[in-house]
Symmetry: none
Amino acid sequence: MRLSDTIESFIKTMLTQEEPEVELKRNELAEYFGCAPSQINYVLATRFTIDDGYVIESRRGGGGYIRIVRVIQSGSKFRYLIGERIGETIGEVEAGKLIGQLEAENLITSCEADIMRSAISSQALSVPIPDSMKDALRARVLKAMLTSIARKNREGQASAKKAPCIPSQNGVS
Amino acid sequence: MRLSDTIESFIKTMLTQEEPEVELKRNELAEYFGCAPSQINYVLATRFTIDDGYVIESRRGGGGYIRIVRVIQSGSKFRYLIGERIGETIGEVEAGKLIGQLEAENLITSCEADIMRSAISSQALSVPIPDSMKDALRARVLKAMLTSIARKNREGQASAKKAPCIPSQNGVS
DNA sequence: TATGGTAGGTCAAAGAAAGTCAGTAGACCA
DNA sequence: TGGTCTACTGACTTTCTTTGACCTACCATA
């Protein structure tokens, strides 16, 4: 396994359900894993982004620290994604992270997440068009899927005739 | 026998009934068979396609890998749809009917059906490319989504750890 | 209020591994 | 024997990881 993956899961095991916040020393962690301190920054930059659902705070100097906070930016997540976050184009990795967040917040099932991921995979979109247009296409497809989920949720709320897409919260307090 | 055939059967013997998933190193395999690494890609591209019921996942860079997953049992509904029924291109109406059938047979939930319909809607695919290419794109996206469902169902059967996509059969014998 | 130590941030470069593609060679068929 | 399809290769590209040199911020205290 890659060092980055090891560090990632190390940090994630510190972030439990009850403890959505962890503070660490960059140099200590680097020494513990026997790597360059900047490796820690790399892990944070690639695996603990806001799209992944994390916020990083830090401080330099004596008594410095890095704090990682898992955030659930609730409110109307779908509106935010469709209206602001996604925009005209989006890459596969980025889009995958957004889907992962919806899954983690139990706004979609893991089946729905997988369907969405596969629908926007570069595999699925591998027709001979320029990459920029693929990203535009991906954004459209993703927004269309999210819109359909959001609409279903609304209808479920309104009439209770049709089942909403919100999955049952298995094991989540 | 052609080298490609040898590599193909080599990989297929690794993919047993119990282990439908194999991970390998492209360079190692190429060295083992004494061929160019790109030969491996050729074999994967010609013999382990979605239509054949396989999914390829890979990662570049340090610690990179190629994973081959056999997703689809022969003789299944999904096998028929992906391998024969859908083909290279498909229109929106036709695709919608197929999705409706899956929904009626309780192979997918109504939410999943809606997500899939929206993903292949002409709305979602309205980027400036020729219509013929849109139909090709729709076919690819649809196959990719069906593949992910089929895979999930298989994983659900195999381990019962992950929930399968097959919805509960409400009122359907 | 300088100033030196402490600790995190940035960035570019090197390394690792897979992907792409165009071109060549071989095989099969009319 | 010419044409088309399949197999194969190598050069080049892209992506991901890791490191180290250098930069910046904060704190204590003289």
